[in-house]
C-alpha cells in the first residue's frame, strides 16, 4: 500500500493527541533557550490541523495544502511557519496524486528541507529542526514500505537528538546561548522527533 490521505489524517490525529503531554515539555525546553512558547504554539497548530475535515479529499497534495494553510493560520512563530513552509512544498509536489509510494517520501522530505532552509536561513548543523528533517530524509532513502519508513524515521530522530545534544545551537533565539545550549535538546528538533515517534509508533 502507498501513502494516501488516510495516512495523513491518521498521522495528524496521532500527533494531535501527543500534544497533550508534549505541550509543557516543549515549553520548558524552549524556555531554557528561547521564549518558552514552542509547546503552546504547536498545540494550537495541531488543534487547527486536526479540525480540518479530510472527508471526500483524496488528493494528497490538496490535503497537505490544507494542513499547510492551517499551520500558517494558527501561528507566525518560527517553527510553525517553517512547518507550514515544508508542508506547502510537499503539497505542491504531490498535487493531483492520490497515492505516493513510500519510497518517494525521502525526496519529498528533502525538498521540504531545502524550502525550510531557504525560508529560515539555517544551515545543516545549526542544531535546528532542519537537522532532524535532514536526518529523517536521509534515513528514508531506499525505504520501500511503511514499516521500513516508520522504523527508520524513529531511529533517525533519536540518533539526531543524541548527535546534536552536545553541539551548540547556531540559529534562532538559542544562537546567543551557544554554550548554554550544549547538553540541551533544541526545542524544534525535540518537537519533530517526538511527533515523528507518535505518528510512526502506532499503525497509520
Amino acid at each position: 500500500m502507498n501513502l494516501t490521505v488516510t495516512h495523513i489524517a491518521a498521522g495528524v490525529a496521532l500527533a494531535h493527541a501527543r500534544m497533550k503531554t508534549l505541550e509543557q515539555e516543549l515549553n520548558v525546553a524552549d524556555s531554557r533557550l528561547g521564549d518558552g512558547d514552542t509547546g503552546g504554539m504547536l498545540r494550537r497548530v495541531l488543534d487547527l490541523m486536526a479540525e480540518q475535515r479530510m472527508d471526500g479529499i483524496d488528493d494528497v497534495g490538496v490535503s497537505l495544502g490544507i494542513l499547510a494553510k492551517a499551520a500558517a493560520a494558527a501561528t507566525g512563530s518560527s517553527l510553525g511557519t517553517l512547518l507550514a513552509t515544508g508542508l506547502l512544498t510537499m503539497s505542491k509536489r504531490t498535487k493531483g496524486r492520490t497515492e505516493i509510494p513510500w519510497s518517494e517520501l525521502a525526496p519529498l522530505l528533502e525538498q521540504a528541507r531545502d524550502a525550510v532552509m531557504a525560508r529560515g536561513g539555517a544551515k545543516l548543523g545549526d542544531k535546528t529542526v532542519v537537522d532532524a528533517l535532514d536526518a529523517v530524509s536521509s534515513a528514508l532513502a531506499g525505504a520501500g514500505d511503511q514499516a521500513g519508513v516508520r522504523a527508520r524515521a524513529v531511529a533517525a530522530c533519536d540518533e539526531a537528538l543524541v548527535r546534536f545534544r552536545n553541539e551548540p545551537c547556531r540559529m534562532g533565539r538559542a544562537r546567543m546561548y551557544a554554550d548554554k545550549s550544549i547538553g540541551m535538546d533544541d526545542p524544534g528538533m525535540l518537537a519533530f522527533a517526538r511527533l515523528t515517534e507518535s505518528v510512526c509508533r502506532r499503525g497509520t
Binding site: 524556555s31 521564549d35 500558517a72 512563530s77 544562537r175
Partner: protein, 332 residues
Amino acid sequence: MKKLINDPAHYVDEMLDGLCAAHPSLTRDGPAGRVIRRTEGARAGKVGIVTGGGSGHLPLFTGYVGPGLVDACSIGNVFEGPTVDSCMAAIKAADGGRGVLRLYGNYGGDRMNFDMAGEFLEDDGLELSTVLGTDDIASAAPEERSKRRGVAGIVYAYKIAGARADEGASLAEVTAAAAKAVERTRTIGCALAPCQIPGAAEPSFRIAPSEMEMGIGIHGEPGIWRDTLKPADAVADEMVDRLLAERPEGSGHRVSVLVNSLGATPLEELFILYRRIAERLDKAGLAVVQPLVGPFVTSMEMAGVSLSLCFLDDKMERLLAAPASCPFWRVG
C-alpha cells in the same frame, strides 16, 4: 505567577477587543481579527508604515498605531510572530498608494511571515521596503549588529519614520529615516522577575529572590550575567556604560533617552534610575532631548527595565519632536 485572565486561548483576542473598545482610534481587522489599523484608514498619498509581532508587549505593537507613528499592525499570539495572512492584510491596510515600509523587530517568525507576505504582494505591484529593529546590544556582538534583536528602541524608529512619512516623503526617504533611527539607537535590559505565557505551566525563566539578570530579552531570552541584585545607581551606571561603549560613529552630543518598564517595575523605580542616568549622560557631555520614562515595551508582568539611547542629529531631532499621537504616547 497570577493573571487576571479568562481562558488562555482567548487571551489575545479579548485583549484586542478591549484595546479597541477603549480606544476608538484603533480598529480590529484582517484574518481572525489579527490586524489593528487606524480607524480612519490609510492616508492616501502618504507612505504607509506597518509593524507587527507577538502579543504580550503592550503598548507595543498595536498601541503605536496612530498619526505620526504606524498605520497598521499585524499581531500574533503571545511571543509568536503574526501569521502571513495578517501581515498581508496589515500591509494592505497601511497602503496609501505610495508604498509601505515594514518596520518590526528582528525575530525569526516575524521576518519569515513579513517576507512571505511581501513576496505575495509584490506580485500585485505593491512597492515595499523593510527595516528591522536591532537595538538590543546584549543579543549579538557589535560586528554582528544586524543579527541583534529588536526591543524597546523601536519606538524611536516608529516616531522618526512616522514623522517623515507625515511630511510626504517617499518610500525610500521614509525607509532611510527608519534605518537611521535603528542605526542610532542602542538598548539594554535587565530583569528581576519573569513573566509567564498564558497557559504555560511555568514562568519563562526562574531567578532567585536575591538575583537579577543583565541583558535579558523581552521574551526572557537569557542575558549577559546573573548576579546579586545591585543598587539602582549601579544598574544605571552599567547600562549607561555599556550603551556609551557602542556610541554610533559620527553621533553628536544630543540624545533621547527611554527608561522603560518591562511590566511590573513601577514608575517610582524608573524615576530613581532616570535621575542617575541623566546625571551620567550629563557628565558624558550629552544633552538629553525628550526623555521618555514609563512602560513603552513590556513583557507582560516581567519585572525589570530597559534603557535605550537614541543618538540624534538635527533632522532626527526635528522628526522626534513632530506631532504624533497614539493611545499611549502623544507628542506636540
